[in-house]
């Protein structure tokens, strides 16, 4: 994101809305974006309504008000002068928007967002089948953001377990070598709001996966949200629950349920 300093009146509304908290007031009293830390999610641009006020008019009002020790408070969800500007992004910076802005459809997956459909369409795709588990490691979430150099550390540790990275996943597509989890060098210093490593394996390998994640989590400077999914048994039981408990971990009370209304239903041979 860029801010047009000719238009900015330094109201500060974009500072709070910024998902990474990386917009600040410069010495000239106008807002500026820390480009290294901005993930190009465009939230500020989308959320703050452009009031199309004339910058000189607002600046004059503010000067007059400040003379009387009064302040000018813009409404919380506006950019009074439309100073926020969408930049043209070039590779590799362009991946920031692809991973961070949910309105962007990833060219590789055809799905908006940072991952694939995972179990959301499992009733028709059969992606996670009987005896299998889907593993979802979302790096940078909640609200912290992640550099690909950290994502690579986790991917490389998990790759040693010989699990299957989901081919259609956007992170997998940025790997130099999915056998090792090594990412392309040019993306390592790119930061995204979050990115999802997706894989699947057999249920009995859950404890090994969790042990590995336990170790590698200490090496990264971001948070990780971990999800685990499987196809239910005919009586509705969730097969991975037993394996997670055996490994000594707790899971959430809430979660996601595919209720199986997709057609044609995927039939396992």
């Amino acid at each position: 994101m860029e801010i047009d300093k000719k238009k900015c009146v330094g109201c500060g509304n974009c500072h709070a809305v910024c998902t990474m908290g990386v917009i600040y007031l410069d010495e000239d009293g106008k807002s500026v974006v820390n480009q290294d830390e901005c993930v190009e999610c465009n939230t500020c641009y989308r959320v703050l309504r452009n009031e199309r006020r004339r910058p000189w008019f607002l600046r004059t009002i503010r000067k007059i008000l400040s003379f009387f020790r009064l302040g000018y408070l813009a409404e919380v969800d506006v950019c009074p002068t439309g100073a926020l500007t969408l930049p043209e992004l070039e590779w590799p910076r362009s991946i920031r928007a692809v991973f961070s802005d949910p309105t962007t459809v990833h060219p590789g997956t055809g799905v908006p967002g940072r991952g694939t459909d995972e179990i959301k369409t499992n009733d028709v795709t059969g992606r996670v089948r009987k005896g299998e588990v889907g593993l979802v490691i979302e790096m940078g979430r909640p609200g912290t953001g992640a550099y690909f150099r950290d994502i690579e550390k986790v991917a490389m540790a998990l790759a040693k377990l010989k699990l299957h990275f989901e081919k259609k996943n956007p992170v997998t597509q940025l790997m130099d070598n999915p056998e090792t989890g090594k990412m392309k060098d040019e993306v390592l210093n790119e930061k995204v709001l979050s990115a999802i490593i997706e894989m699947k394996t057999e249920l009995e390998r859950i404890p090994g996966f969790l042990r590995t994640l336990e170790m590698v989590q200490k090496e990264v400077d971001t948070v990780i949200s971990v999800g685990i999914a499987s196809k239910c048994l005919p009586d509705g039981t969730v097969p991975h629950e037993e394996w997670v408990k055996k490994a000594g971990y707790k899971f959430s009370l809430n979660g996601k349920t595919n209720i199986g209304l997709g057609r044609p239903l995927f039939e396992e041979s």
Binding site: A16, V17, C18, T19, G21, T43, R46, V76, D77, P102, V105, G110, G113, G115, T116, E118, K120, T121, V124, T125, V128, V136, E138, R141, P142, G143, T144, L193, S194, I196, L213, Q217, D221, T222, V223, I224, S225, V226, G227, A229, S230, K231, C232, G236, V238, H240, Y249, K250, F251, S252, L253, N254, G255, K256, T257, I259, G260, L261, G262, R263
Partner: protein
Amino acid sequence: MTNTLHRQGTLESLKNDYIIFAHTARGITCEGSAPKLQKFMRICLKYHPVNIGDDKQGNIYKDDIDIQKLISNQGDGAGALAVFTDLDTLQKVVEELIQADLGISINISGLLDEVQTCCQRAGIQRHSAEHSLGFWGARDRLPEREILEFNTMCGHGMVSFNLIRKMIDYVKLRRLTPKKAARIMAKCCECGAFNPLRAETLLEKVRKGEREIQD
């Protein structure tokens, strides 16, 4: 995409938070899905969701959004969602969706046992389920629990920690009502998964300095 998986909160608070969404699979159910997605949204709308939207067009809290236009503009695509605050209404929606037999995948995020009960009452068995195993890594970078309860209602992370703090401050200072502050947060969440009614309740509690007991 796991945008509704990691919602934080007490059991009591999560009992008022169910997201139902329609999703299509490329090459299987995506092509020709527009009328089905529109039907899905119309069925949801009938039961007065507290939020409804899709990734492409946004949600009903965005500026200048007309819900009927949002539905009719729904093309073949990934999906749509709606948020409900009680299980009985959710069950009615599920029953009507079963009747409608749209043939697209339907998912529900919420308390897993309650959703399972809802499915069984509606005469179906759940197909697949996903749990959150919580937050790992540099957890010291996370803010306090109350902030996370708001932030995780938008799994895409569009409601920033700083905005939540600002909204809490404004509500405490009576510059904004809890309702208005909740709507501003909901506006940020592009797909409409944010539950503004739950946010309003949480803001009321925060304003009064009440703390919830974590289950």
